[in-house]
């Protein structure tokens, strides 16, 4: 599986998780927005919702890709005020580091 295919899957998982919370279609979500910042610059997720997203997306990624990644506490903190795009890209790095997609 190419990194781009992994990226597609991760992007789908993340936007698919966020979509019902913000009441938008997954493909409507602007991936340049940050998680923590209030609109219009970000999605304005609470700390708890963001951590829940990390938990749920980790589980889904590990199930679908058959890998075993952990988004550590410091990693999550570092990405709370980052864009969704960077979060997805860095998650792909975690997955490739775990041996998936090679």
């Amino acid at each position: 599986m190419t990194p781009e295919e992994i990226e597609n899957i991760v992007l789908g998982i993340v936007t698919g998780w966020l979509a019902p919370l913000v009441h938008q279609q997954p493909d409507q979500i602007d991936v340049t927005k940050t998680f923590g910042q209030a609109p219009p610059g970000g999605l304005g997720l609470t700390n708890g919702a963001y951590e829940q997203m990390c938990d749920d997306c980790t589980t889904q990624i590990n199930t679908q890709l058959g890998c075993h990644i952990i988004m550590s506490g410091p990693w999550r903190t570092a990405h709370y005020n980052q864009s969704i795009a960077i979060f997805v890209s860095d998650t792909v790095d975690l997955i490739t580091a775990a041996g998936a997609g090679t």
């Binding site: 991936v31 700390n47 075993h68 410091p74």
Partner: protein, 481 residues
Amino acid sequence: MNRIGTAARLLGCAAFCLAAQPAAAGFQPSPKDVCVVSTGGQRVDIDRLAAKLLDANQITSWQLDTTGSISTQTQINAVHLHDFCKNTGHCDSGVVKKLIVARVELEQFLKSIPGKDDENSEKHDFEISVKPGESQSLDLVSDFLEGRTVITCTAPIGGSVPPTRDAGGNLTQTPAASAPNPDTAAAPPQAEPQSQSPVSAVGTAGGDWLPSLAQFVVRAKVDDLAYGTDSPNYKGLSSATLGFDANAVSHADTYTASGVVGYQVNRIYYGDPGDWTDIVPYVGYNLKKVETNPHPKSGNIDTMTAGLLFDTLFRAGFYQEIKAYPQFMKSYQDGSETLSGTLTYIPEPAIPILAAPYDIGDLVYVMAQPSFNLGYQQIMTAGENKALLGVGDYTRYGPGLDFYVYGFPGSVLEKFSAAASYRYFFNDGLSLHQFGNLQSSISYTPFGQQNVSITFKYVVGRDLAALVSEKEYTLGIGIKF
């Protein structure tokens, strides 16, 4: 002679070879380091490119700002603005020269990127294009850093494997992609035994208990101590103040000082990856001293505070947050000493409206945040503070609700935002066994930016400190440049 001739030819060749050698590769970032996924495909992220460029030129945060506390925007400004160091006055010596080199390298890199229709575009990892509706100037660096041009990544960010793109050449986000079909998704890779062990990302925050100068924060209010300089909320925080006012008419000199200094202890992680605790011990000082002849009888303030800001997130079924602010306050003006504090419990389940601003008809976002609040005060010494005796010791508790509305970008309400905060308390103090307080505001930003705003505020109920009845309407224009 023959030897001399050979040596001369070698020297000549060496000189020619050096001259004929192409210029040093300069700044050539890898797509993996600077590209991020976006709805239109992979593109170069400005933040990442700026960080990589500074890194490649060995320009550290400490050199750009002697406090070492900089944001990604500061990094972009350092690369972009020729007078960055002159304006900030915080650069380390020698960094100006390095920044000039970095800018030249960035320009060379941008020049080397082919456009979409260029012949050699297929051989390159990047492709540059002008954003629709924008026009390109002669300054490539400004065009890119100000968002007029976009660099598309044509190589995959994860490695050298050719990318798989759709017919349009774009990374698409179809609804199907949001829930990948297990049948069409590639088979899960058979990881090597060692790769089955959890791979944990190591972040930049936490883990280091050594004190750092950047972790000392100075703010106007205790509540603002939780926000670091890299927080999106940082720009909106008010500053600590130190002032002197001389009134030549009334012959009154006024000295003021107000602010808190805190130390942001590195976030403490425990239990599950999502559980953390922030602690910020702080001291504050508030002074207002008016010197007149004769001496004023009232109006002076001279208080010192010391306390702890505590914020913890933990999962018990769903995520829940507790914030607490125990504080000791001593007044040198009236001799009073008090212990006080607040505790706020916020349930943060991942359900619509409570978890994030919820889009209603592409017109507004709405969000609600319920809370349970507790406040207490113990008077250790009342001194000459009669108002303090009037309030007395107390413990208050009750529910609260914060409500936010934001105009949806592009809608007719785009420039509006509103907030309301309601608190209801049961009080076991000297008076008023129950009371409430509502604070609400509507803001309008006419030019679509935060520089100018018109705000209407409405406050009704009891002031939470003095318990006096209040009902206020305020209409104001805020200007900030």
